[in-house]
């Protein structure tokens, strides 16, 4: 099955909103039809064919975007099925509202990736920006399902108000990691900057390295063998190997006691 391919003709002059450019909407259409589809460049309508060279593919085939750019926003927005692969970086809001399928970014992703994500898999081969899986201002909750796998680092406020789902980060996370987490699981193998989990309500923040300072609003619950970590590791190994610790033994810090104290930060024992 031949993939649909969009090849960026030149570095964009402004930010391009790639909403609606999905394998499920483009599959099976002719090159001319696809090229006529409208996207927005700095808010102004422009034909997709003016920005990209189009190679059509069969219905159900993967969509490949060649020579991605940090100015391509909303890649994979609302996707429900199929595979969208971006050769290069992506802009902001990658995987926004993703519901199914797989979005693969073979470079860095901008801010607010996986915002409102409900399902599917978002892979970022490089680094992710700030607010990954987080709620936007005014949103009641951030990511609500699915899996995000980041091979590099993540920025500040990783998983802010995240409601459900799993985020795996092989590198480090920035400040306020897991802030206001409502539920779900965050795994950051490389540890995080500053004090993690401010305002964390429920959910699990698993750090591969203990933070330099644990917030005063977390209490040390001691070391325990947590068999669910074995389940998580088996699941995560198929997505991003080596991120979840080998051992189910972890030190548990319960908190944030200022916000109910029913969440946890787990660090290697």
């Amino acid at each position: 099955m031949s993939a649909m391919t969009l090849t960026l003709r030149a570095a964009p002059a402004g930010r391009i909103d790639m909403s609606g450019v999905l394998p499920e909407t483009l599959g099976g259409r002719t090159a001319g039809d696809i090229a006529a589809q409208t996207v927005r460049l700095d808010g102004n309508p422009v034909a997709l064919g003016d920005l990209f060279a189009v190679t059509p593919g069969e219905a159900g085939a993967a969509l490949l975007i060649r020579a991605g750019s940090g100015r391509l926003d909303c890649l994979g927005k609302g996707m429900t099925a199929g595979t969208l692969r971006v050769e290069g970086p992506a802009g902001h809001y990658a995987g926004q509202g993703l519901r199914g399928g797989e979005l693969l970014i073979e470079g860095d992703a901008g801010d607010c990736a996986a915002n409102g994500m409900q399902g599917g898999l978002l892979r970022i081969a490089g680094n992710a920006g700030d607010w990954l899986g987080a709620a936007l201002i005014g949103d009641r909750a951030g990511m609500g399902g699915g899996v995000v796998a980041v091979a590099g680092d993540a920025g500040d406020r990783l998983g802010d108000r995240m409601r459900r789902g799993l985020i795996l980060v092989r590198g480090k996370a920035g400040a306020a990691c897991g802030a206001r987490l409502l539920a779900g699981t965050l795994v950051v193998a490389g540890g995080c900057a500053g004090a993690p989990g401010p305002g964390l309500r429920r959910g699990s923040l698993i750090l591969g390295r203990a933070p330099a300072t644990m917030p005063a609003t977390y209490n040390d619950a001691g070391v325990a063998d947590l068999s669910w970590l074995g389940l998580l590791r088996r699941h995560a190994e198929a997505i991003l190997p080596g991120v979840v610790p080998d051992s189910p033994r972890a030190r548990r810090h319960m908190g944030d006691l200022a916000c109910g104290g029913k969440g946890e930060i787990l660090v290697p024992a």
Partner: protein
């Protein structure tokens, strides 16, 4: 039909449709997984008074369990979904949750979910945590040795219960030896269990009793000590009869298990004191599944 000197009665086992489920119990060691399973599946020989029929199906290596620890798979059978759910919750709650280091997982996908940790989670008194991993929900319930991990639900299977055959032998010891061989053969069949002690029943029953309150009573036609006073099915050469009862998750599994057990007994043959093989039925009017011995052994 005569196989290895054993006469095969031209009769059939009459079995019933049942509801079943499979669960997987893991622990830090196989010993503790077995402790939990033996407690959970104990007193589960017959639905007549135990509520369900259950037994360990097989042992599982760490590579075959969800959490990478040693474990056992067990099957539970009941006459209704409601009763199965009740028995499952009670037995897991009292025997698995209580057992050190254990965790419990669904062992099958079914046509509908059956609560496993869904209600047991309230034991956590508000400290329980839910985890959704790979599309499956688990409950982490804080207990005194750490956490009890229970998958939210398991699957409901439409299954078959009450497959059986009777071994008629020249002596009780010979009947028992044949039963041990049959039970060992059935234990190798996936999807089937023999829920009675050691897989063997000595108190085969008939429906009804002279006492109105009893739903079942001794199968006098196969009691050797009643020859001459009751309507007996036994010849002078039979000193003891033992029964194997089988529950299986499907009709096909039941047939495989029946054949495995019958073959094991026939292999012992007349030289080992086996006189006849027969089966229990109720005239064919009660059970939806009939397993003709001669058909299975053909």
């Amino acid at each position: 039909m005569i196989i290895n000197g054993v006469f095969i009665d031209d009769t059939y086992a009459e079995a019933f449709g049942m509801k079943a489920t499979r669960i997987v119990i893991t622990a830090d060691s196989l010993t503790w997984a077995r402790h939990a399973a033996n407690a959970a599946f104990g007193f589960a020989t017959s639905v007549i008074a135990c509520g369900c029929e259950a037994a360990i199906e097989c042992e599982l290596s760490p590579t075959d369990t969800p959490d990478g620890r040693p474990g056992v798979a067990g099957l539970l059978f009941a006459v209704s979904t409601k009763e199965l759910a009740k028995q499952l919750e009670r037995r897991v709650g009292q025997c698995v949750l209580t057992c050190p280091t254990t965790a419990v997982f669904a062992g099958c996908e079914g046509e509908e979910p059956l609560p496993l940790g869904k209600n047991l989670r309230y034991f956590g008194d508000g400290w329980q945590m839910s985890k959704l991993i790979g599309g499956r929900r688990y409950w982490r319930i804080p207990v005194m040795d750490g956490e009890f991990l229970a998958e939210e639900s398991t699957g409901l299977l439409r299954s078959v219960g009450g497959g059986n055959f009777l071994i008629l032998a020249r002596s009780r010891a010979q009947a028992l030896a044949a039963c041990e061989a049959a039970a060992a053969a059935i234990a190798q069949v996936p999807g089937a269990i023999a829920p009675f002690p050691g897989g063997v029943v000595r108190s085969g029953s008939k429906i009804g009793s002279k006492y109105k309150t009893l739903p079942a009573s001794t199968n006098d036609a196969f009691c050797p000590t009643l020859r001459g006073v009751a309507r007996s099915e036994l010849g002078a050469d039979v000193e003891a009869v033992l029964e194997i009862v089988i529950d299986a998750v499907s009709d096909a599994d039941m047939r495989v298990a029946m054949k495995a057990g019958l073959d094991a007994v026939c292999a012992i043959g007349a030289a080992g004191g086996i006189v006849r093989l027969s089966a229990g039925n109720y005239g064919g009017k009660l059970g939806q599944f009939h397993y003709r011995l001669r058909e299975i052994l053909a």
